[in-house]
């Protein structure tokens, strides 16, 4: 196994998380997207320059695949694959926290694709704004304004739900 391939394997969980958020929790579609991304990455591994961020390179591939997929799909309705079942929260202590996280998830799912992508890349992956701009192929200023709108919108949605809720998020 080449070193770069081993690195790609190590990054699969990150790709799955990115795809899952992007596809609003549709596990099957998300893993399909990850697989497409892995295939393309392997085909194009020669184009990756060692020393540059492999993670950002993979995210770029995934972003482009997703954009094309959405474009092809157009407005056609689709048969929705349900997300895989997730574990029941253990005990009542977790219950309230889960409700808060459920609300957060709903709020995130109501954002636009572009906003969700930026949230993953900035909030979860901790990429720099200029790296996010490169992944998404947009100017850095666009990243900043979209991020600002995304966080404001989340804040508004969560405050509408329950004015005191977010305060208790630790």
């Amino acid at each position: 196994m080449k070193a770069s391939e081993a690195q790609i394997v190590a990054l699969i969980p990150r790709l799955r998380r990115y795809a899952r958020v992007l596809l609003r929790g549709d596990t099957i579609a998300a893993d399909d997207l990850v697989q497409d991304c892995l295939e393309r990455a392997l085909d194009r591994l020669g184009r990756w320059r060692p020393g540059t961020d492999l993670r950002a390179w993979l995210f770029t591939i995934m972003h482009n695949l997703y954009v094309n997929q959405v474009r092809r799909a157009g407005a056609a309705p689709r048969f929705v694959a349900l997300p895989e079942q997730y574990d029941e929260p253990a005990g009542a202590a977790r219950a309230e926290r889960c409700t808060e996280l459920d609300e957060l998830q709903r709020a995130i799912n109501s954002l636009s694709d572009q906003q969700r992508e930026i949230l993953v890349l900035v909030s979860l992956e901790g990429l720099r704004y200029r790296e996010v701009a490169a992944v998404l192929g947009v100017p850095e200023g666009t990243v900043m304004s979209r991020l600002s709108r995304a966080r404001q919108q989340l804040r508004t949605l969560l405050e509408e739900d329950e004015p005191h809720r977010l305060r208790r998020v630790k």
């Binding site: 998380r17 399909d32 056609a76 909030s123 704004y129 998020v169």
Partner: protein
């Protein structure tokens, strides 16, 4: 950001994300000292990020499905995924892992959805409630049915025998399906539960895929591509029961 314009929300975000140089950071901090609303925003954005991590970080700990490791040239990836026992078990059950990965390509999800899953689910919904005319040709005339379908589809697709699972063939029918013809075979359990197998050619170019699962309401669909044909097994069954049937169908057809 400079003295000429006020600190705005974009600046606060950049502060939270540590994107500012020392001079800019000092400016924002001076502003935060004076402005309670901005302090509140910064705190909320930070808590939001923590909550987003709490929400999505568990995905990182999930085992990687072996289905992500089925491409030729990635055998190491398959080993890596060996920890995913459940997925491996499913894969082995479907005869998937054992198959030559050379033939395995990714099919167009779009085509599968439009040409296979939706028409299969739709045809199931239309014909399974029928009492008097659920099928065009009944199982009593199975040889005729097989010949007829073979002639029209240009390939023999015999209805798999699912009697070991308690499902008897009711019969079959020919259907229009977007740009092609499709066959629907219907099976029935003693208690009246019906499942349908839907098959047609499509623009998937002899690709082969793993089993995929979709669900809408009570109706589940396992679908897969094998050679020129796409198959979908539809029923109001649990995922596991439908999977067992699909495995049987796949083995018989393969």
């Amino acid at each position: 950001m400079s003295d000429e314009r006020p600190i705005n929300d974009i600046d606060l975000n950049a502060y939270v994300d540590d994107e500012l140089d020392p001079v800019q950071r000092a400016e924002v901090e001076a502003h935060l000292h004076e402005d309670a609303a901005s302090r509140e925003s910064v705190q909320r954005y930070r808590r939001l990020d923590q909550a987003i991590h709490e929400l999505y970080d568990p995905i990182l700990d999930e085992p990687v499905p072996s289905t992500l490791a089925r491409r030729r040239g990635w055998p190491w990836l398959r080993q890596h995924a060996a920890a995913a026992m459940v997925w491996l078990a499913v894969g082995a059950m479907l005869g998937w892992v054992a198959r030559s990965p050379d033939t395995v390509q990714v099919a167009s999800r779009q085509t599968e959805q439009l040409d296979l899953v939706r028409p299969a689910a739709f045809a199931h919904a239309i014909y399974t409630p029928e009492v008097r005319h659920p099928v065009e040709v009944t199982a009593q005339h199975e040889p005729d049915l097989i010949r007829w379908i073979a002639k029209r589809l240009g390939a023999e697709i015999k209805p798999p025998d699912l009697s070991v699972h308690g499902y008897a063939l009711v019969g079959g029918r020919l259907l229009p399906s977007t740009d092609r013809m499709a066959v629907q075979y219907m099976y029935e359990r003693k208690d009246g539960v019906r499942v349908t197998l839907y098959a047609r050619r499509g623009a998937w170019n002899n690709e082969a895929t793993a089993f995929k699962y979709a669900r809408e309401g009570n109706t589940g669909v396992f679908y897969w591509i094998d050679g020129p044909f796409g198959y979908a097994l539809v029923g109001e069954l649990s995922k596991n029961e439908l999977l067992r049937l699909s495995e049987s169908v796949y083995r018989t057809l393969g």
